[in-house]
């Protein structure tokens, strides 16, 4: 193993441990919002993409229908399709390895892979980060879920307030441009205006229309935006 490969592996495990913090938060909030420990674990193993998992748990915890939560979760998961597109020529995976590469295609593994100077290092970065995050995320989910399972009323320790803070922390790195800030402000406002009018869960989905309305028109001057680069520190 070369020095470069060793340094990529160190970076990958660093990312994995950092993401574990989110897993702890996810396990805790899932149980605080009425999911069982087993359900939190199944989500982290099989869904394995943080923002989507938080969305399902958040919508259901706020009294929304499980189906609304699922739609919000899938809409958030759509960015992983673009990561796969970006990674496919880099990883050169074939056959069954393509199926396991797909499950490990998340913000962090993509970010580490595409930041490497060579294809070989990109492959090391992708697989090591994907596996490291998978292990840390799942261990942390169980720990967080079991810890909160012991608490009788999550409201007393403010866990209901933690969900909003978690969503804001996930959103924060994306608020770097005027367009994303405007979309965020409009979507939040629309969701609040619709809250008294529609069943829980629906206002969040309706607010996604803001993104469609802003993204649909072809911009002048042929300015094409790239999908956002994944952020290593945020799932």
């Amino acid at each position: 193993m070369t020095d470069e490969h060793r340094s990529v592996r160190t970076q990958s495990w660093g990312v994995g441990v950092a993401v574990g913090a989110y897993g702890l938060g996810f396990g805790a909030l899932a149980v605080a919002n009425g999911f069982s420990v087993a359900q939190a674990m199944v989500l982290s193993i099989f869904v394995f993409t943080g923002a989507s998992q938080f969305a399902l748990v958040g919508v259901v915890g706020a009294g929304g229908a499980a189906a609304s939560g699922a739609v919000a979760a899938l809409a958030l998961g759509s960015r992983n399709a673009f990561y796969g597109l970006r990674l496919a020529p880099l990883l050169k995976v074939r056959g069954w390895r393509r199926l396991s590469a797909a499950q490990l295609t998340i913000d962090e593994s993509t970010a580490v892979a595409i930041s490497q100077p060579t294809g070989q290092l990109a492959r090391t970065g992708f697989w090591t980060t994907g596996i490291a995050v998978f292990i840390c995320w799942n261990v942390a989910t169980v720990a967080g879920a079991l810890a909160v399972d012991q608490v009788s009323d999550p409201k007393v320790i403010g866990l209901d307030a933690a969900v909003g803070a978690a969503f804001l922390a996930l959103l924060w790195p994306q608020l770097s441009t005027a367009v994303t800030r405007a979309v965020a402000a409009a979507a939040a406002t629309l969701a609040l205006v619709l809250t008294p009018l529609l069943p829980p869960g629906i206002p969040v989905l309706a607010a996604a229309a803001v993104a469609l309305v802003v993204a649909w028109p072809e911009p002048p001057h042929h300015v094409t935006q790239q999908p956002r680069s994944p952020d290593v520190s945020h799932e």
Partner: protein, 103 residues
Amino acid sequence: MNELWAAIAAVAVGGYALKASGYFIPQRVLERPRVTRIALLTPVALLAALTAVQVFGDGERLVLDARAAGLAYAVVALLLRAPFLVVVVGAAAVAALVRLIAG
């Protein structure tokens, strides 16, 4: 209960299909500028709406309670570049403290 498991199964299957689609769908479909713009902005809109409803919603009512104090703390913590756990645990602690004081 069963409804929740059904939703979990749907997100697991659908989420995996989305991840895999990047490897199997022809590049030109996903590389249209409109599709990439939608992919960029949809998470922003959803996360902003989720934040707002999570903090100010209570079923079909809007309320201002201890959760708002937790969010205010989170904004300050994020501006100071605090790590995720400091943001989330701190927000919970602030809300719990406000409830304790308000009785």
